[in-house]
Amino acid sequence: MWEVSAFSKEKEHISCPLPDQAWQEASPESQGISASNLEKFANFLYSENRKTDGLVIIRNNCLIYERYGRGYNRNMKHVGWSITKSISSALLGILEGEKIVNRYTKVKDLLPYFDKKEHSNLNLLQLIQMRSGIKWIESYSNFITSNAINMLYTEGFEDVARYTASLGMIDKPGKKFQYVSGATNVLMSALNKAVKKSEQENFPWIYLFEKIGMQSVTWERDKSGAFIGATGIFAIPRDYARFGLLYLNNGNWNNQQIIPKSWIELSTRLPNDTPNNRSYGLGWWLNQPIENGSKKEIPWKLGPPNMYAARGYMGQYIIIVPDMNMVVVRTGTEFNQTTKIEEIIPYILELEKP
């Protein structure tokens, strides 16, 4: 039923090189991790009411633990849902570094159908910050009013960005945080127009996936051929871990700067120009204090303030804990989102304790 690997002590290393091809495996103990606490953590995620499909843990660049269940194994891809948004953000940063676009590039300059007066100031940064101002209902349970669902399966499926453009605006761009999946789809459609025609079909692989060895990625598109930038990624958990490791290493992969370091920094801190009501950077969920009435609160109270996570529907997580030099990937199929990051954090913090 379960495929479990806590790696043997035979290949012990203090830290491992970044995995160009195969991962270097190491025992938890060799990386200062308690094997019994690791087992407790895994058993928590694999308890009966938590539909965990995969768990991969990286410490000091080494693969120290993985476990699969519920019909999955290490070679099977898993849907990432909104983890995709973090990857779309990375691509914006990379293409800015390559001077193909600028974060302040106007959407209308790449997608001319954003032609209403209210769209005129909308730029790429606002899309990934979730400050687009687009009129939107984000829900995966309300099948009648949800724009997210109608975009993917009815009115919008032929061209998700054009559907999003048709909805109009509720706020001025840049003013207010509102989670809009359509905005990330607009971003990927815009990036698709920005790259050379010969790169349009494959630019995520050219600029990112091939450089860090993410060989398993499937990225689904709409009927017009644009990548579903909000939710379209499928990959094996080990490849999600590569992406997390790239961020943990500040965008550097074996001495090649794949994502500009400044982009990683910008992505993993709250914007300071306008207060957010959610702790969200550029496509990443953060643990930095947000204003709640008169007081400031951090979302994951037990977690270090510099940790951050890519999060997807039904319990997909890539959790980055810089203080522990650790990446945790968890995939799942929980329609009711049973397992929250705040429940996972105490188990992660216990891993370093004997």
Binding site: M76, H78, V79, L152, E220, G232, T333
Partner: protein, 101 residues
């Protein structure tokens, strides 16, 4: 008798109006074929899970459909109900499934 005829008339008109409004407001019934076709296609042809697994784990709501066809050769899924027929087509290892109809 006349009273019952009147009641039947109003009930029929009422049901008709409810049906029309559901149709034009994007009711769940209208979107389910697209939702089922695309998600099943990804689960089966991209993830390579079994049919039983995909049927059990791909959908947050489950309602009956008129037809649910898996074309193994063409790698496509066709789902129909009274309001809509949708087709999801597997494209390639890199691009997965797309809703074509």
């Amino acid at each position: 008798m006349k009273k019952y005829r009147k009641l039947t008339y109003f009930v029929t008109i009422g049901l008709f109006l409810i049906g029309i409004s559901f149709y034009f407001t994007g009711s769940p019934f209208k979107l389910l074929p697209g939702y089922y076709a695309k998600e099943f296609c990804s689960c089966y042809f991209v993830v390579h899970q079994t049919k039983d697994y995909c049927m059990e784990n791909s959908f947050s709501i489950k309602l009956p459909t008129l037809s649910f066809e898996i074309n193994e050769e063409a790698k496509s899924i066709k789902v129909a109900n009274l309001m809509r027929t949708s087709i999801a087509q597997w494209q390639s290892e890199r691009f997965g499934c797309v809703l074509t109809n």
